[in-house]
Symmetry: C2
Subunit: 269 residues, 2 copies
DNA sequence: AGACGGTGTTCCAATTGATGGAACGCTGCG
DNA sequence: CGCAGCGTTCCATCAATTGGAACACCGTCT
């Protein structure tokens, strides 16, 4: 193969990279995969693929299905995910605030961080209110959504340093996903400016039909945006203006309280 | 080092194993680890440890902390965990049943699978009832507990094939964890027999003081036990007998309904 | 039946990718 | 200032990975 440093970073482990590629091949819509299948997908020999799979299985990250002989993810991978969640002091600190906001408003509230061009949900309080339509896009903790068409994503990107934003923007593929999705970088930048002056981001059916939400940024002790908090409703429940008026102040207040609990000094900014 | 097959299985990848060992080193109580620290823990050279860490960071499984230069788990590891959860049809199928049971009884209910000698929580419906004491042992989805001192663990082990049980039992370390923990293999086997005839497992402060729960097994389409469902309360809420009387039938019924939804034929057994 | 194409798995010599000592730049401490 | 620790990079050495071949097994198609 290549001599050394075939891709970008020098000094990385090919074996580890390949093994993790195998793990990542398993999705909810593709839960069972065989060795040969993996070897084709990742362009490895069957024996090599098998060695990785055997290693992963030995360590509990994969399990072999008795009948089909194929493999699935093992319970061990859950450990990793929840170690990550539990490591985030943000989750612990924000939990009571989220809960209170959800109780007071009777709406579903979420907390998400930015990872590249996606937002990743890290906390969620649902209220199965009567008459509240279920617009669940499979939005559990751990779910990913493109940042550009979510209120939380925009709330974070609006307050990110210009240099970081410049790195992220070109990667975004502005695909229409809802009736009002922003589909150009320029429109998106204008939107971010609006959010900066309002201190609140809105999502008016930009991700999916019927889905509205508002979100506010959360800051770390060092003053960087690290997350966002949102409150979501179905379009039949409120117009965008009503939402901002009714829930905007509470969302901003909760976000600020969490920021303060993280050690953020609002005066400094 | 060793020539080949240093531990147990021949044909496994040392690099992948070491890389995953690094990932597993990160816990909630040890979220930030440096390269040198890892190299000492895992007995690797600093350069080797660094190569693995660099690989994991490049792929998003680790992130470097800007100030301390040390590393933490990245959001990417969440993907794995939730792929695993979403792959389990059991989770989807049981969700409505769990929710209903929780609503009807006003108690917290859980679903867990067996992994070695542990149970792993894969679903949970809490009810923050008034007056309900918080005995949270950090019991979220993904949490692990030793099977021998939980109702769900015992409910599963009671219906596992004898050969599998014989493999698992010797690994169990019967440490007292609550007032009534079973502390000998013989007492444990007797308990399993009781559970088999009752169809219901109880945990009467065997895991922790004040914690009571009852659990029933869930079967797959092929008739194997694959999980258990429990309902937990604090000791001040009900005696063990009251719990069994009040909630036992509902727990058993819900477990049976889930089994049936999984394709289990009760008549066959 | 029989041949076939598919699977997961094992083995082994060839060699490629991992290894770790040495060295660099940095930070914080005494 | 020196020192000790850190994360990082480099490179010749060498061991761990590699992949072809072969095995056993399973359905399917002829």
């Amino acid at each position: 193969m290549e001599s050394r440093g075939s891709d970008g970073g020098t000094g990385t482990s090919q074996s580890l990279e390949r093994g993790l590629a195998i793990l990542s091949s398993f999705h909810s819509d593709r839960p069972l995969i065989g060795v040969s299948e993996l070897s084709r997908d990742l362009e490895l020999s069957r024996s090599t693929a098998h060695r990785y799979v055997a290693t992963l299985a030995k360590l509990g990250y994969l399990q072999q299905d008795a009948e089909s002989k194929r493999y699935r993810l093992g319970p061990k991978v859950l450990d990793l995910g929840f170690s990550a969640l539990n490591s985030m002091e943000l989750v612990e600190i924000s939990a009571p605030h989220l809960r209170r906001l959800s109780d007071e408003t009777g709406r579903t509230v979420n907390l998400a961080i930015l990872d590249g061009i996606d937002v990743v949900y890290i906390e969620r309080y649902r209220t199965a209110q009567q008459g509240q339509r279920e617009i669940d896009l499979n939005l559990h903790v751990g779910a990913r959504l493109p940042a550009y068409c979510t209120a939380m994503g925009k709330a974070i990107l609006a307050f990110v340093p210009e240099e970081q934003l410049a790195g992220v923007l070109p990667q975004i593929d502005f695909v229409p996903r809802g009736p009002n999705t922003l589909t150009s970088p320029s429109a998106f930048r204008a939107e971010l400016a609006k959010i900066r002056s309002a201190g609140l981001a809105v999502n008016d059916e930009e991700l999916a039909y019927g889905l509205r939400s508002i979100a506010a940024p959360i800051y770390s002790h060092s003053g960087e945006v690290i997350a966002a908090l949102n409150l979501a409703v179905h379009r039949t429940m409120a117009s965008m203006d009503e939402m901002v008026a009714r829930f905007g102040p509470a969302v901003i207040k909760s976000a600020q309280e969490i920021s303060q609990s993280m050690g953020h000094r609002p005066a400094t900014v």
